[in-house]
Subunit: 343 residues, 2 copies
C-alpha cells in the first residue's frame, strides 16, 4: 500500500505556492496556479492536483514557459475579449479574463474570451465554474498535444481536446461537465502500462492503425475519439475554436513546438459566456432556474443516474474538514522542490 | 426494386410548395419549408427531403401547427436576438433570424439567436451553413421528443438532440457537421424494424433497461446517447441551451405536449455565431482561413478520412444536373396532397 501524507487545503495551497516561488514563478502566477491545484485536490481530482507541480517546475526549468509572464488584456470587439498569456501558465490569464468576460456577457447577453499563448496544465471546470459564480452559462474549449486520430484515420492529429460546460443553479453548486473528446485520458493509458494491464477496446489503435488493448502499442499509435466519428467531429470543432479562430496553434503544431519537458504544450482556449436572464423574453431568472431543476429532478428520478460533477461536489464537502492525502514520495519530492527540509 | 420518379430541383421546390399551399400554409412559410426540403434533396439527405412533407401536412391538419404563423423578431440584449415562431414551422423563423443574428455577430464579435415556439422537422445544417455564407462560425442546438436515456438511467428523457457546427472556408463550401447526440437516429431503428434486421449493439435498451438489438424492444425502451456518458452530457447541455436557457420546453415536456400526429414537437433552438475576423488580434482573415486549411489538409493526408459534409457537397455537384429520385409511391402521395391529377 502506498504510504500517504495528509494535508489541509491550506497546506496544499502553501506547498504549491512555495514550490513555484522557489523556481522563479512570480507571486501572481504562483497564486493562480496554487488556487487551481488546491481546487483540484479539494474536489479529489488527483490528476490535476499536486501531482502536476513537477510538470509546472520542469516547464520553467527548461525555459519553455515564462515564469513571471504578465498577461495582457485586449478588447477585440464589443463582446470579445482576449487575454494574451505572454507565454505564461494558464491560471493567471484565465483569472484576469474572467471578470471582463462576465461584464461583457452581462452587457451584451453573450460574450467570448480568447486566451492565447498559454500553457494549460489543468482541467477546464475551474474556469466555467468561475463564470457560473457570476450567474452565467459557460462553455470552454481547449486543444492540446497531438494524440488522437481523426475519423477514419490512423495517425495522431487532434489533441485530447476537452470541452466544459457550466449551468448555474440556485442553492447548489453549478451543473458542470468537463470531458475530453478522446475515449480516455492519456494518463489512464499510462496507468495501464505501469500496472501491466490491458486497456479497454475502443481506446486506441496501434502504429499500423489496428485496434489494440496493449497500452504500449496504444501510446506508440493513436488514441481514439469517444463515440466514433461524432466524438471526432467534436475534437475537430475544438481544434478550430481553440486554434485558428483565436489565432492559436492546432494540436499538431503545439506538439511540433513542444520540447517534451513533461509540462504542457503552448496553446489557446476559447470561453463563451451567456447571461441566461438576457436569453428569455420574460426575463424571469427565478422561473428559468426552477425550470432547469425540473430536468435535473427527472434525471435523478431514474435509478443509477447522477449529475455530472456530483462526485466532485461530494469531495468538496469532505476535504475542508478531513484534508487530502498524497503519496509520501510525492510529498517529499514537493518538499525538495520547495527547498524545504525533508523528513 | 422500388419504382422511382425523377425530379429536377425546381420540380422538388414547386411540388413541396404546392403541397403546403394546398393545406393552408402561408406563402412565406411554404417557401421557407420548400427551400429546406429542396436543400435536403439537393444534398441527398433523403430523410429530410420530400419524405417529410406528409408530416408537415398532418401537423397542419391536426391543428397543432399554425400554418400562417408570422414569426416575431425581438432584441433581448445587444447581442441576443429572439425569433418567436408563433407556433409555426421552423424554416421561416430561422430565415427571419439569420440576417439580424449575422449583423449582431459582426457588430459585437459574437451573438446568439433564440428561436422559440417552432416546430422543427429538418436538419440543422441549413441554418449553420446560412451563417457560414455570411463568413461566420456557427453552432446550433435543438432538442426534440423524449427518446434517449440519461447516463446510467434506463428510461427516455432527452431528445435525440442534434448540434451542428459550421466553419466558413475560402473556395470551398463550409466545413459543417450536424449530428444527433443519440447513438442512432430514431428513423434508423424504424428501418431495421421494417426490414426485420437487428440493430447494432449500443443503440438502445429495452423497457427493462437491458441492452437490446431488437428494434421493436428498442422503440419500446430507450435510445442510448453516442459515446456513453460523454454523449449524454452533450445531450443534457443541449436540453439546457435549447430549453430553459431560451425559455423553451425540454424534450420530456415537448413529448407530453405533442399530439403524435406524425409531425414534429414544439420546441426551441439556440444558434451562436462568431465573427472570426474579430476573434484574432491581427485581424487577418485570409491568414486565419489559410491556417484552418492546413488542419483540413492534415486530416485528408491520412488514408480513410474525409471531412464532414463532403458527401453532401458531392451530391450538391450532381443533383442540379441529374435531378433527384423519390419512390413513385411517395411522388403519387405528394401529387394527391398537392391536389394535382395523379397519373
Amino acid at each position: 500500500m502506498t504510504d500517504l501524507t495528509r494535508l489541509t487545503l491550506a497546506q496544499v495551497h502553501a506547498l504549491a505556492w512555495q514550490v513555484l516561488r522557489a523556481h522563479g514563478v512570480s507571486d501572481p502566477q504562483a497564486r493562480a496556479i496554487a488556487d487551481t491545484v488546491t481546487a483540484a485536490e479539494r474536489d479529489d481530482c488527483k490528476s490535476h492536483g499536486l501531482f502536476r507541480l513537477p510538470g509546472y517546475v520542469s516547464s520553467v526549468r527548461s525555459g519553455k514557459v515564462t515564469p513571471d509572464a504578465v498577461p495582457h488584456l485586449h478588447e477585440l470587439a464589443p463582446a470579445i475579449v482576449q487575454v494574451d498569456g505572454q507565454n505564461g501558465f494558464a491560471p493567471l490569464a484565465l483569472q484576469i479574463g474572467c471578470g471582463p468576460l462576465a461584464e461583457k456577457a452581462r452587457r451584451h447577453g453573450i460574450a467570448a474570451l480568447a486566451v492565447t499563448r498559454i500553457y494549460h496544465f489543468a482541467a477546464l471546470w475551474p474556469e466555467v465554474e468561475a463564470l457560473a459564480a457570476h450567474d452565467l452559462v459557460a462553455l470552454a474549449f481547449t486543444a492540446a498535444m497531438s494524440y488522437v486520430a481523426p475519423a477514419g484515420g490512423s495517425k495522431p492529429l487532434y489533441g485530447t481536446n476537452p470541452m466544459a460546460f457550466a449551468w448555474p443553479r440556485a442553492g447548489h453548486p453549478p451543473l458542470v461537465f468537463d470531458q475530453a473528446s478522446s475515449a480516455s485520458a492519456r494518463g489512464e493509458i499510462q496507468l495501464h502500462l505501469r500496472d501491466g494491464t490491458p486497456i479497454p477496446a475502443g481506446w486506441a489503435i496501434d502504429a499500423e492503425g489496428h485496434p489494440t488493448t496493449d497500452p504500449a502499442a496504444a501510446l506508440a499509435g493513436a488514441q481514439l475519439p469517444f463515440g466514433g466519428y461524432k466524438g471526432a467531429a467534436i475534437a475537430l470543432m475544438i481544434e478550430l475554436l481553440a486554434g485558428a479562430l483565436i489565432g492559436e496553434v492546432f494540436s499538431f503544431e503545439a506538439s511540433a513546438l513542444d520540447n517534451h519537458d513533461g509540462g504542457p504544450p503552448v496553446g489557446g482556449e476559447l470561453i463563451i459566456a451567456l447571461d441566461p436572464a438576457r436569453c428569455v423574453g420574460h426575463g424571469d431568472r427565478r422561473r428559468q432556474l426552477a425550470h432547469a431543476e425540473q430536468l435535473f429532478a427527472n434525471i435523478l428520478a431514474q435509478e443509477g443516474t447522477r449529475l455530472p460533477s456530483d462526485r466532485r461536489y461530494a469531495a468538496r464537502q469532505r476535504t475542508p474538514r478531513e484534508g487530502i492525502t498524497i503519496p509520501r514520495a510525492l510529498y517529499e519530492e514537493l518538499q525538495r522542490l520547495a527547498g524545504r527540509e525533508t523528513t
